[in-house]
Amino acid sequence: MRRSFSLRLSAFLGFVFLYAPILSLIIFSFNASKLVTVWGGFSTKWYAALLQDQQILDAAWVSLKVALMSATIATVIGTLASYALARFGRFPARMMLSGAVTAPLVMPEVIIGLSLLLLFVALESLVGWPAGRGVDTIVIAHATFGAAYATVVLGSRMGSLDRSIEEAAQDLGARPIRVFFDVTLPALAPALISAWLLVFTISLDDLVVASFVTGPGASTLPMVIFSKVRLGVSPEVNALATLIIVSISAVILIAAWQMQKSEAQSH
């Protein structure tokens, strides 16, 4: 059983490597002591303090709003872009579109943030919109690079889609637009969900781009956490991080379960 032992050992080490930091963070969020490195007994007081902290609550609300809106916008744009790339065959500027659509994936965040900031400033002085910077501009920025991820996720699903089900619907009397809503969209549903979730988490997570394009009064959660941590790691931030981890894990589990269900259905 040597092989089985070494296999188990390497699996164990792998999991430790991945999850030990997260686990210690969760444990220390229940630390009674204010000193992060000293265990002072079990307590949930940091969670209570967290709910009292208006700054963090506001930032969480901003982040949630931004993530919801940008994920939705990005998924719509991604669906249209991947549909065009997969279905319209060769069209002028096809290469340019597919390149442009995936460029944000490899572009450094600093450059995306800077270029969007310059665009927003220029637009404001030219057409007066977007007036100032805040939630609107973060949503636009996140939707922009989120659409790149959504296009890639949806594109792979769209490519493996059986075209004949679309033709069958058309053959049975459905106009092209009906075909899209009756057949193409339901078949894409699992990919739509994963694309939306992916952009949602990326948006929640983003610090760099949001810092560039935000204005006074609109701080996202990562921005607040970052500024707090600069003054020293506080157990309150640990508590907040624990909550985020738990909620994200829940969402991922639900998504995985949904995917599995629809996977079983399509075979």
Partner: protein, 379 residues
Amino acid sequence: MTEATSARALKPWEDPNAKPFLQIRNVTKKFGAFTAVNDVSLDIYQGELFCLLGGSGCGKSTLLRMLAGFEMPTSGQILIDGEDMSGVPPHKRDTNMMFQSYALFPHMSVEKNIAYGLKRDGVPRAEIATRVTEMLSLVQLDGLAARKPHQLSGGQRQRVALARSLIKRPKLLMLDEPLGALDKKLREETQRELIKIQETLGVTFVVVTHDQEEAMTLSSRLGVMTAGQIVQIGTPHDVYEYPNTRFVADFIGSVNIFEGKIAEDADDHVVIRSGDTASDILVSHGISGVKGQSVAVALRPEKIAIERTLPESLPNRLAATVDDVSYMGNLSVFHVTLPTGKQVKVSQTNRRRSADDAIRAGEAVQIGWDGAASVVVTA
């Protein structure tokens, strides 16, 4: 429709006054520099079950897709029931198609799949329900209405696809390899059912298949396609017994080909001098050819007799050596070599069970055939 009034029995293609239901006129389809369908003309009559038969890439599926409206001809015209179909998109055609992959909507139940076409036409709900029930019993799927496609077997999916494509009572139903995904036993059953359903409803069927056995069983007539062209159109019997080219003779069933020249040309018989056989071949019917012309004699394996000694009354007799015998249960296939080195395939039904005096490999035998058994092809 009963057997007596079906197209199979009436043979409308033999009636010069019959009006074809589907007319394909000089249709060509090009994809870039590649010509998928090359100047095809074809008339199909009401109530026919017409098979387009050909290997992969011969253009049969492209032709079918043009009938359904998924592709538009590069040139030429398609008329369905006298109506020109140029520029008419698939959803505006009174035709339906059954796809090779069945293309069932995975997120809809069997019932919703079948009802889809009627729903798109705005048929009242109550009527949809009755017609779906009717259709379910026609394809023997009663009780499976609520299932999703992934909960069905291959045979059941095939029936759902058929029901879905028939529910709108199309004038013309196209079937792309309808039985390709079924195993042999189920395929034979389904073939008979398909013919029954087709004759019950009187719908004109155009079936694309690469399986020559399937085309023979199903069709009222069939068209053999190769390289974008239809090389022969006829009833299964005509195409099998009177192939017009070497290609058709070889594609449908198996065949022995003897190359030669016309040595004697009379009204009621011809003699072919072939280097493949040591003696001349007598064909007891006239052909359209001139003396000296290069032709080929096509001869089906089952039309050749094989014995240790054959009666002298048989006009074509040749000595041969048996190379090997393949026993296939219902028949035995003998591979024999003529003194000229030409290999010939002969098949014989195993009428008797005893195999004591059966011809074995290595034996010297005679093979022979009647003057009417062979076909002379010039192309």
